[in-house]
């Protein structure tokens, strides 16, 4: 038995190193900045679970922490449910035909290790890995252009323990282009200075522009969006002059709360405000050809009720969880939607289409009622007209169409999720 004991010791030590010193969140107690109320307003077990470590989604945004917690059920609880969920009356379509509707390649940035993985969606084959250039040591962001071969990645340095809650970290941006077979080239630095306080970024479908949102400086107002030309580094800036934070509802999308329409001109963003009831959010469309200046003046609001989006203290019974995606044609939003009944609680998770014009739900693509939060949903990518999307239903990544759900191959699932005794978790955050 000694050999087994030694082996167990060795493996336990190695396994424990998946928890890095730098990743331990700070403890916030009364009397310290950002503390939570003792014994009150505590999270609902499971439902308000963090989606990912503070390393990638730092806690310096109060609403982000809450939104992250809400959306946590979407991605950190991926494997709680044990079922491959399909609505009655639908089944998997021809797999290869369905998989042809979604991007061939993805880049997934890791939670616990260093290298980003380039994978093939339809097979789960690893086509290459990429390490962050020194002195930075991890990937904080990734966003994909529309060609499935151009990705923008952001790297950051590790911070000391205790910095996590208080200090936004610098981000250096790189372009990664895959060859025709999907194998990655080298990371090429973008002509954009290292930025701090990034809360979201999205590369335009044609790969020519990069939108970046920033949180306000500590204690001030003035969230910003900058759009850079990736050819020249020229930028245009809009400022949200009032209260509100951009990019708070970042997850589960690796690029945060910014998304382009297919016209390479219209950018969707969300603004979250802090109120006594929680952090309601609103969605806007920015015309990036407009002169820089006021973000509000250059944008139009999508009339989704603010209380349907974001996080409410009262654990509102109906709300969108996570950042909705906008279809390339700008006509629809697709979003994971959540509702619950009064005790005894029944949780409902859907993938729902909304009209951008009216802000109202127009179609439910998937619906699961459950006694737990484990049947949660998320949407990671949607095509131009909303006829195909990459979604998560319970524990499974798959292609959701108007009528069917086709799970991605086990090898692909395995690159993204990890089993655990009390559930599963996302180990790499993908961008398609």
């Amino acid at each position: 038995m000694n050999a087994l004991e030694d082996r167990l010791r060795t493996e336990l030590r190695a396994e424990s190193r998946l928890i890095a010193d730098e990743s331990i969140p700070a403890l916030s107690l009364p009397g310290q900045d950002g503390h939570r109320a003792a014994g009150k307003g505590r999270r609902v077990p499971g439902l308000v679970r963090r989606a990912a470590g503070p390393r990638r989604w730092p806690g310096w945004l109060a609403p982000l922490a809450a939104a992250a917690a809400v959306v946590g059920v979407v991605i950190a609880s991926l494997a709680i449910s044990g079922l491959i969920l399909r609505p009655a009356g639908s089944g998997p379509a021809n797999s290869s035909a369905v998989l042809a509707k979604v991007p061939r390649y993805f880049v997934a940035i890791p939670e616990v290790s260093v290298r980003a993985v380039v994978g093939a969606t339809a097979t789960g084959a690893v086509l290459g890995t990429v390490a962050p250039p020194k002195p930075h040591t991890f990937f904080a962001w990734v966003t994909a252009a529309g060609d499935s071969r151009t990705f923008i990645l952001g790297t950051s340095p590790r911070l000391r323990r205790g910095d996590i809650l208080n200090r936004p970290r610098p981000v250096k941006l790189y372009r990664l282009v895959l060859d025709r077979s999907g194998h990655p080239g080298r990371l090429v630095p973008l002509p954009i200075p290292t930025e701090t306080g990034i809360s979201g970024l999205a590369v335009s479908p044609d790969g020519s522009k990069l939108a970046v949102s920033f949180i306000p400086a500590h204690g001030k107002t003035g969230s910003r969006i900058q759009v850079f030309s990736l050819a020249t580094g020229a930028r245009r800036e809009w400022v949200w002059s009032g209260l509100g934070t951009l990019g708070s509802i970042a997850m589960p999308v690796a690029s945060g709360g910014l998304q382009w329409e297919a016209d390479n001109r219209t950018l969707m963003f969300e603004v979250t405000t802090s109120t006594s009831a929680g952090w309601p959010a609103q969605l806007y469309l920015l015309d990036t050809t407009a002169p820089g200046g006021s973000l509000l003046a250059s944008s139009t609001r999508i009339p989704v009720p603010s209380t349907d989006l974001g996080w409410q203290h009262n654990n509102a019974r109906h709300r969108i969880i996570g950042m909705p995606l906008i279809t390339g044609d700008g006509a629809k939003l697709v979003a994971p939607f959540y509702h619950q009944t009064a005790p005894p609680k029944v949780f409902g998770f859907t993938i729902t289409e909304f009209s951008v014009h009216t802000g109202k739900p127009t179609r439910v693509l998937y619906h699961r009622r459950a006694g737990t939060e484990g049947a949660s949903t998320a949407v990671y990518w949607v095509n131009t007209h909303g006829t195909a999307m990459i979604a998560v239903r319970g524990p499974v990544f798959g292609v959701q169409t108007q009528t069917t759900f086709t799970p991605l191959p086990p090898a692909t699932q395995r690159l993204l999720t990890r089993q655990a005794p009390i559930g599963g978790s996302l180990i790499r955050l993908p961008a398609w």
Binding site: L18, V396, G423
Partner: protein, 174 residues
């Protein structure tokens, strides 16, 4: 993880914040790793540890002595792990992920594919706790018994049964 590692946490109640913060700075990593090994979920582990330190903070004034606050937190962490596992039992089991298809993918996920640890995670929670405390925490049978709230004999038998089960599972997989 040893008793002698714990700081001299003899601060008064008025210094609770400072004392708890200092204790957290020193032991959060080890305790989070311990909870992670029991639970297999880093975020659940972080939550459990944070809750344990919050519990310590709230109970600070009521503690009869501050000589063994690390032991108090360690017990809280284990209790928190048990609660998390109980909550998870109300949910369906996770789908089994087959092995990765390619050698490269296998290599990439190798850090998550430690056979003994994977097998340990299929053991009952108490056996898992015992193994983690004994072989990761390097705690004696007596220390493990205190942390688990059981007798030394129970630790001995639980550990033996866990190792035997682990051995059997690993042989079956070969």
């Amino acid at each position: 993880m040893h008793q002698q590692d714990q700081p001299r946490a003899t601060a008064s109640a008025a210094d609770a914040t400072q004392a708890v913060t200092a204790l957290y700075a020193e032991h959060a990593l080890g305790l989070t790793r311990l909870a992670f090994l029991v639970l297999g979920d880093r975020f659940a582990a972080e939550d459990v540890v944070q809750e344990a330190f919050w519990g310590l903070y709230r109970a600070w004034d009521r503690l009869p002595s501050h000589d063994n606050v690390l032991g108090y937190v360690r017990v809280s962490v284990l209790n928190g792990c048990r609660s998390a596992i109980r909550r998870a039992r109300r949910t369906p089991r996770p789908v089994a992920m087959p092995h990765a298809a390619s050698a490269e993918a296998d290599a990439l996920s190798g850090e998550e594919q430690r056979a003994a640890v994977a097998a340990m995670r299929r053991l009952p929670a108490r056996q898992r706790e015992a193994l983690v405390l004994r072989y990761f925490g390097e705690m004696s049978e007596q220390e493990t018994a205190q942390a688990m709230g059981v007798s030394r004999g129970t630790v001995k038998s639980t550990t033996a049964r866990a190792l035997a089960a682990l051995d059997r599972m690993l042989r079956e997989e070969q």
